[in-house]
């Protein structure tokens, strides 16, 4: 197994949602209107890496995560997992793959069934997939997963219900539920954003530790670039359904090349009051994904946009090793100097 083996290949992925319209509106025009939540994105996720998908709300990052797991079918494009095209297989074949592809949701207060004990919440995945033959084996594997997420001692927790646990403990249960089927790939959708800061670090560290132990690969979806930097290996920045820049986390954050990435990074607050840094924000608001702007999607809010940006979609270029961006006017820190 080499370090750069690809686990997930996403090619030209699109996900459009139909807009439901009223009866009269349908009479006036037959044309179907679509929300282009994800519009033609491609990327690879390498084995054992944490690939971060970051962007503001509504940019399509969560939809991408759901489509990759085939929880909702794509409108176009392909997703290949270990050589298998997930868009082309039958429901039965998909079901057999499910234990290998898991998801961790954002809100541990909503993603656990309040009427199931911890034992049943974690065990359900094993039972549904018939991964445990006997009751003892089931219990054994549940306890193992609980130990791996450091819910010590498992006997104290296993017959409790979610309301008896703190937020951090609940998120551990959610993680235990994901790893109990021995998955190869996990989509972690904002797994720490609902938790207190003092607990976040612990959960992030736990997710990191599980990579080695379970031979895992993550797609980490977040709006929080600071946590992305902490846990991520590579990052893709999304804006309005498109990836605008991707590469190793450190390089993208320290040396952003797309104008949107640069401004997004400048807007992140820094927990150090002695640093003078101007938080910037793009002018105006995110346009509607129903009728996204032509050319570069960011041109309506970009201070450096010109005719070319309005007309032509910028192609991806490798700006440094492994670091790609799609912008007609590379960001240069000097452009902000005389402000």
């Amino acid at each position: 197994m080499t370090a750069t083996e690809t686990l997930i290949e996403v090619r030209n992925l699109k996900k459009y949602f139909p807009v439901r319209r009223g009866f009269v509106a349908q009479l006036v025009s037959r044309e179907q209107i679509w929300v282009k939540a994800v519009d033609d994105i491609s990327f690879d996720i390498r084995k054992n890496e944490v690939f971060v998908l970051a962007g503001e709300s509504g940019c399509g990052k969560t939809t991408t995560g759901r489509v990759i797991l085939n929880l909702t079918p794509p409108s176009d494009g392909s997703i290949t997992y270990g050589g298998i095209d997930l868009t082309a297989i039958t429901k039965q074949e998909m079901k057999a793959l499910r234990p290998k592809l898991q998801i961790i949701f954002q809100d541990p207060y909503e993603s656990l069934n309040p009427r199931l004990s911890i034992h049943d919440s974690i065990g359900e995945a094993l039972q549904v997939n018939q991964l445990a033959d006997t009751r003892e084996e089931l219990l054994q594997r549940i306890k193992m997963a609980m130990e791996d997420v450091r819910l010590f001692p498992p006997d104290d927790f296993i017959y409790r219900y979610p309301h008896m646990l703190s937020g951090g403990q609940r998120q551990r249960v959610v993680i235990a539920r994901a790893i109990v089927t021995q998955p190869e790939f996990i989509v972690a959708d904002e797994p720490v954003s609902m938790l207190d800061a003092s607990i976040r670090a612990e959960i992030l560290q736990l997710l990191k530790d599980l990579i080695k132990k379970y031979d895992l690969t993550y797609l980490y979806i977040t709006h929080d670039l600071a946590s992305a930097r902490y846990i991520g290996d590579r990052i893709a920045i999304m804006y309005l359904g498109k990836i605008v820049e991707y590469g190793p986390v450190g390089r993208v954050i320290d040396n952003p090349k797309h104008q949107y990435t640069a401004i997004l990074i400048s807007a992140v607050p820094i927990p150090d009051p002695t640093l003078t840094h101007t938080r910037r924000a793009p002018v105006g608001e995110v346009p509607s994904p129903i009728n996204p702007p032509s050319g570069c999607r960011f041109h309506t809010r970009c201070a450096y946009a010109d005719e070319q940006c309005r007309l032509e979609e910028p192609p991806f270029k490798e700006v440094e090793k492994d670091h790609f961006a799609a912008c007609w006017h590379w960001f240069d820190p000097k452009q902000w100097e005389d402000e």
Binding site: A267, I270, P273, R280
Partner: protein, 325 residues
């Protein structure tokens, strides 16, 4: 000069199991024109403090002791009618998720005008003019006054809420997690707006948030709360660079920064229940340097360095040390 002084404030919730001591002996002062950050984990009492300052505690909560002096007048002693006048006129608020606090079936302009007319003795025409002015100030096009809340984005709704809070030109603004539900780019815009308005209106702000990075960006001074009490209070640079309480230390070291990959610490355990909080120092069950005295004796909240207050028995040993390994 302090515009708001809070002395030994106690606000409890009386439930079947006993009194939840959500705010237990909190003392601080808010200087004119400054931004004071109030930070801590969920359940530490920061929002309850805000509600208590406004005398707005929901049942079964009530202020059991202490005073809240606004320009020398004790708000805890005010009758509900007097208090209603003071709220908004003198001390205003923007609540958590405030953008959902707008009435969905009223045009936003009418909602702002309603607030003006209730609090100021002016004609409807004048109130409408005032409403348009304040919208302009917060960066919302006054022609959108006839729009309904659902026609605005989250950031724009938050601007409208800020406009509404400031239209009566209060002395004090309490902002409880004003930007928590917003994207960073929008948050940056809203905080920038707050700062510019602060200079314009000579406004004093209490900014309540769990997000320490936002505190570092926006505040002059910071109070760190734990289990219903303020454990450390100092200017923002001292809090981030020369903090003296192990809890502050752990909290700050648990926040990842965009700039670095420093190892993060985590504080073991969870905040205690507040019906019967731990004896002595309330942080002792989670503290890495707790000793017998911490279990038995409550530390005094005292000025250890100039204008740097801390409640810890071991504060003097902590200077420049990382107790979280």
């Amino acid at each position: 000069m302090a515009v708001l002084e809070v002395n030994n404030l106690k606000a409890y919730f009386f439930i079947e199991a006993g009194a939840v001591k959500a705010v237990d002996d909190v003392t601080f002062a808010l200087e004119r024109g400054e931004t004071l950050g109030l930070a801590g984990e969920s359940g530490c009492g920061k929002s309850t403090t805000a509600f208590a300052l406004l005398n707005l505690l929901p049942y079964p909560g009530r202020i059991v002791d202490g005073e809240v002096l606004l320009d020398g007048e004790d708000l805890t002693k005010k009758e509900p009618d007097e208090m209603r006048k003071i709220r908004w006129d003198e001390i205003s608020m923007v609540f958590q998720g405030a953008m959902n606090a707008l009435n969905p079936v009223l045009r936003i302009g009418d909602q702002i005008v309603e607030a003006i007319i209730l609090h100021e003795n002016i004609t409807t025409d004048e109130a409408y003019r005032k409403m348009e002015d304040i919208l302009e100030v917060v960066g919302v096009d006054p022609t959108r006054a006839t729009n309904y809340p659902h026609e605005f984005s989250g950031g724009m709704k938050q601007r409208v809420m800020i406009a509404m809070a400031l239209v009566t030109e209060p002395k004090v603004l309490i902002a409880d997690e004003p930007t928590t539900a917003l994207d960073v780019t929008v948050e940056a815009q809203v905080l920038k707006l707050l700062q510019s308005l602060q200079a314009k209106f000579q406004l004093s702000v209490i900014l309540i948030t769990h997000d320490l990075a936002t505190i570092a960006e926006a505040c002059d001074r910071v109070a760190i709360m734990y289990a219903g009490q303020i454990v450390e209070l100092a200017d923002v640079v001292s809090i981030f660079k020369e903090r003296l309480h192990p809890y502050t230390e752990g909290l700050i070291r648990s926040v990842p920064s965009l700039l670095g990959t420093e190892k993060l610490v985590h504080i073991p355990g969870a905040p205690p229940g507040l019906v019967t909080p731990p004896s002595g120092c309330r942080f002792h069950p989670r503290c890495p340097i707790a000793t017998d005295i911490c279990v038995n004796q409550e530390p005094k909240f005292q000025e250890i360095k100039e204008k740097h207050f801390v409640a810890c028995h071991h504060a003097d040993q902590l200077w420049g040390k990382n107790v979280w390994k």
